[in-house]
């Protein structure tokens, strides 16, 4: 064997020029891939009939005239393909445990390719927009209970939607359900339908900042008693999620 370098690149590029993925196969492969990705396959396609191989060196490739010349055709066809597909929602998940915070709703789309925006719209028309996490994952922060429509919009205007409901948000403090002033002892009874009252957090405060601490608390009944300070004052108490209620007590 001589020391002459084997013209491997030339041989392979020569072979590549004699090999071409034909129009139907190229169309089929593209449509197959798009279809498997959940995208529409109802398309017309005109593909290049040439092998786009070129002589390659240091990261560049020489393309044949036919290959470059047909690029626009292939591109146009592909745009037609993409122009008909719609997003696909794979899952919508969220925590159902009661919380005093906004609820993050996790959305997974089959692909986020071509997605322009995703949002949840309440029955009253309020929209919460999602943030992309990549790879088809999005998160939407919902701040109120209610029925929602999740909507994913693609750049081509196609949309897909899915309904979901949030009922785990509790941002309300305890409700004052009863009160009584007997002598100078003020008795307040609280309730919180969702989570319960944390009467250990109860305290009062007069307008000049003087703290008024409970005489007694009853965690079972949600009852708090104070010595009435003979002046208007505010009483505070939280529910077990930390939502605070404030009531102003005035002697008439």
């Amino acid at each position: 064997m001589s020391k002459k370098e084997i013209p491997i690149s030339e041989a392979l590029n020569s072979a590549a020029k004699s090999v071409s993925m034909n129009k139907d196969a190229a169309f089929s492969a593209l449509v197959g891939a798009l279809g498997a990705a959940g995208l529409s396959t109802n398309v017309a396609f005109t593909a290049s009939a040439t092998a786009a191989a070129g002589s390659v060196s240091t990261g560049t490739t020489a393309s044949t005239g036919i290959a470059i010349g047909t690029t626009a055709v292939a591109a146009t066809a592909a745009i037609c393909v993409i122009g008909t597909w719609s997003p696909s929602i794979q899952s919508v998940t969220y925590d159902t445990q009661l919380t005093s915070q906004d609820v993050p709703v996790n959305v997974h789309l089959q692909s986020d390719f071509g997605i322009s925006r995703i949002y949840a719209q309440s029955s009253s028309g309020i929209r919460y927009y999602g943030d992309s996490l990549g790879n088809g994952d999005y998160t939407i922060s919902i701040s109120d209970n209610g029925d929602y429509e999740l909507i994913a919009e693609a750049n081509n205007g196609k949309t897909v939607s899915q309904s979901f409901s949030i009922s785990s948000i509790d941002k309300e403090g305890p409700e004052l359900t009863n009160y009584e002033l007997s002598g100078n002892v003020l008795t307040l009874v609280y309730s919180d339908a969702k989570t319960g009252v944390d009467v250990t957090t109860a305290y009062g405060q007069t307008g000049d900042g003087t703290m008024i601490y409970p005489l007694s608390i009853d965690e079972t009944t949600g009852t708090v008693t104070y010595t009435y300070p003979d002046t208007e004052f505010s009483v505070y108490v939280k529910d077990t999620l930390g939502n605070e209620a404030v009531h102003i007590v005035t002697k008439k």
Binding site: I8, E10, L12, A16, T70, T71
Partner: protein, 189 residues
């Protein structure tokens, strides 16, 4: 005709990540024939190569956001093609392929029906390609990535999930095997 540089793909990749369908169409049209040739070279079966192209672009479409360095798109696409081809050929792990024994049925092309050389003239180039076809998969893949795709060693390493040192040694082995195969062919012919 002018050349296009792989760097031209980088802005397209960035646009595809933002959902630009035009950019995806450009990427597909610029690369699918190269993917097909690589797939055909590895599988030596036209139908299988077409399936590999489809699966490769499906994978690319679904995971484009995971491509960290857009400049390495072609190497990344080659990696997907390579792994897809290996999977299609029945190899659970690409590195487990050391010889042709697992692929006897499709790894023994006759000159007349070899899809890579069927329309080539019977000259030196054809002989080279036919000899490349006789190389073990790993050597053939590295020859293709180096001399057809024009990848740098580090890009080949990335595509094949092997160290750069292994790329160099495997490439030397492949070239030596190719020389031997050509020598035998010339002696016999």
């Amino acid at each position: 005709m002018g050349k296009f540089n792989y760097n031209e793909l980088t802005p397209l990749v960035k646009k595809v990540k933002k959902g630009d369908s035009n950019a995806f169409a450009d990427l597909y049209s610029k690369t699918y024939q190269k993917v097909y040739f690589f797939a055909l070279s590895l599988s030596r079966n036209e139908q299988m190569a077409q399936d590999i192209v489809q699966d490769t672009f499906l994978t690319a479409l679904k995971s484009i956001q995971s491509l960290n360095d857009d400049k390495l798109f072609m190497a990344w696409l080659n990696k997907i093609t390579y792994n897809t081809a290996m999977k299609s050929l029945g190899a659970v792990k690409p590195d487990s392929i050391d010889d042709e024994s697992n692929f006897t049925e499709i790894a023994d092309p006759k000159e007349d029906n070899d899809p890579l050389t069927a329309s080539m003239r019977n000259d030196e180039k054809r002989q080279i390609v036919e000899c490349i076809d006789t190389l073990p998969y790993k050597q053939r893949a590295i020859i293709l990535l180096k001399y057809y795709e024009g990848l740098k060693d580090r890009e080949i390493a990335e595509a094949m999930d092997i160290p750069v040192g292994t790329v160099k040694s495997r490439l030397n082995s492949a070239k030596a095997s190719l020389k031997d195969a050509l020598e035998k062919r010339r002696l016999n012919g």
